[in-house]
């Protein structure tokens, strides 16, 4: 019996969270000087990561470990490793990028966007199909493998130029602030459980949607400003910025169905595959592949794929998951 996700596209679009994103995008498109100070944006993103980490951990501490969890973790890492190959092939052939830039962009699409996941979770929870708590851990595990694949592809095998910032890259990759905070808060949630969470839930649960509104307002501003400042973006690359989430999301949904995940979890899994990193991976690429053009990879992931996922991807994969998942 298929779980039913009550998430019509139009309803999603009219949620406050999405409307604030659209407001930010329109303000930036109209060249308004509206802006959110960078420390505030960073503070809100720390808050959102701590909150979803905690909630995931508390949920797992209540529901117990499950075999689903292991399956999803392995499938997630496999996708993160594998998806960049697909992206790389398309970026080189259809996109016309060189090896270096193709590898850098591919890494972004194998990795994940935390904010896309958070927005998807919020939408799914609102529609009565909350994803399983362990998906936060899956999210964290999917951040890094794609970076390895992307570097391999970009450099035609891993090499280390002497004097280049080598050691720092791997620290950045594995001890990236967002991975550490997500997993750390997840473990805190696991340890404290439901009862002790009660004291802090006003901040981390009750306040969540409201803060997410303000954060997405900023994301709308940033995405459109990035689009306007893009050099090196072509129509072909933009079309890939839409095709890749559809392809990756479908592969992710397929994997989720094979694993037998329930609808909300399957939709969240598909969104992880569909999403593209714009925080952890760009910083790593800036160090590891300094010649790759940040204008290309940031514009594709942040200015094309992110808005597409927020507005089209989430309702689409939620509907598909609702139809096909058990």
């Amino acid at each position: 019996m298929a779980e039913d996700i009550d998430l019509s596209t139009i309803d999603t679009l009219l949620s406050p969270v999405i409307l604030f994103f659209i407001l930010g995008a329109l303000a930036a498109a109209a060249r308004s000087d509206l802006s959110v100070p960078e420390p505030i944006a960073k503070g809100m993103s720390l808050y959102l990561m701590a909150a979803i980490g905690l909630k995931g951990g508390v949920q797992v501490s209540a529901a117990g470990m499950s075999s689903d969890m292991v399956g999803a973790a392995i499938a997630g890492m496999a996708l993160s490793f594998g998806l960049p190959f697909v992206a790389f092939a398309l970026l080189r052939s259809w996109g016309g990028l060189d090896r270096m830039n193709s590898g850098a962009v591919a890494a972004h699409y194998g990795s994940v966007s935390i904010v896309t996941f958070v927005t998807a979770s919020e939408a799914l929870t609102r529609s009565g199909a909350e994803p399983a708590g362990y998906m936060v851990a899956v999210l964290a595990l999917m951040e890094t493998p794609a970076i390895l694949t992307g570097l391999l592809l970009a450099q035609n095998g891993l090499k280390q130029k002497s004097g280049a910032p080598g050691g720092h890259i791997w620290r950045e990759v594995f001890l990236n602030g967002s991975v550490v905070l997500l997993l750390g808060a997840f473990v805190v949630g696991l340890v404290i459980g439901k009862d002790k969470y009660a004291a802090i839930s006003p901040v981390f649960t009750t306040g969540f949607s409201g803060i997410l509104c303000l954060f997405l307002l900023d994301m709308g501003l940033v995405a459109v400003r990035r689009l306007r400042e893009s050099r090196g973006m072509t129509l072909r690359l933009a079309s890939l910025g839409i095709a890749l989430p559809l392809i990756n999301g479908s592969l992710g949904l397929g994997a989720a169905l094979l694993l037998g995940l329930h609808a909300g979890t399957a939709a969240a899994f598909a969104m992880l595959a569909a999403s593209a990193s714009y925080i952890a991976v760009p910083a790593a690429m800036r160090m590891a592949l300094p010649k790759a053009d940040p204008g290309i990879y940031l514009s594709m992931s942040l200015a094309v794929t992110f808005p597409f996922n927020i507005i089209v991807g989430i309702p689409l994969f939620a509907a598909l998951a609702s139809r096909f998942a058990g």
Partner: protein, 103 residues
């Protein structure tokens, strides 16, 4: 009167994620003291950037070191291979310093 000594001030504009690497490279040629200044925005061949960008990847800093001419040359030599790919903007100026023996 306090004695003034002629030294060099080298300013290197660099991406925030690469600062640690630059500090180590500088230490490698004997420049172990430096200051990083905050920058707000800029425009170059690679387009515009702002400190407000959500991805820290494009924020930049100004690495400033006051030191002797020989070390400045050593640093530039050490950076030579990376000047182009990291998009470093390097300027060197004459300055007079007090307590010259410190630099």
């Amino acid at each position: 009167m306090v004695e003034l000594v002629r030294r060099k001030r080298i300013d290197i504009l660099i991406d925030a994620p690469l600062c640690e690497w630059l500090a180590e490279t500088a230490a490698g040629v004997g420049i172990s003291h430096y200051t990083l200044a905050s920058l707000a925005a800029g425009m170059g061949h690679g387009g515009a950037w702002r400190d407000e960008d959500v991805s820290g990847a494009v924020a930049k800093r100004m690495f400033i070191a006051i030191t002797g001419e020989a070390k400045v040359e050593a640093l530039i030599a050490a950076l030579e291979a990376h000047l182009g790919e990291y998009g470093l903007v390097v300027t060197i100026a004459d300055v007079d310093v007090v307590r010259g023996d410190r630099f």
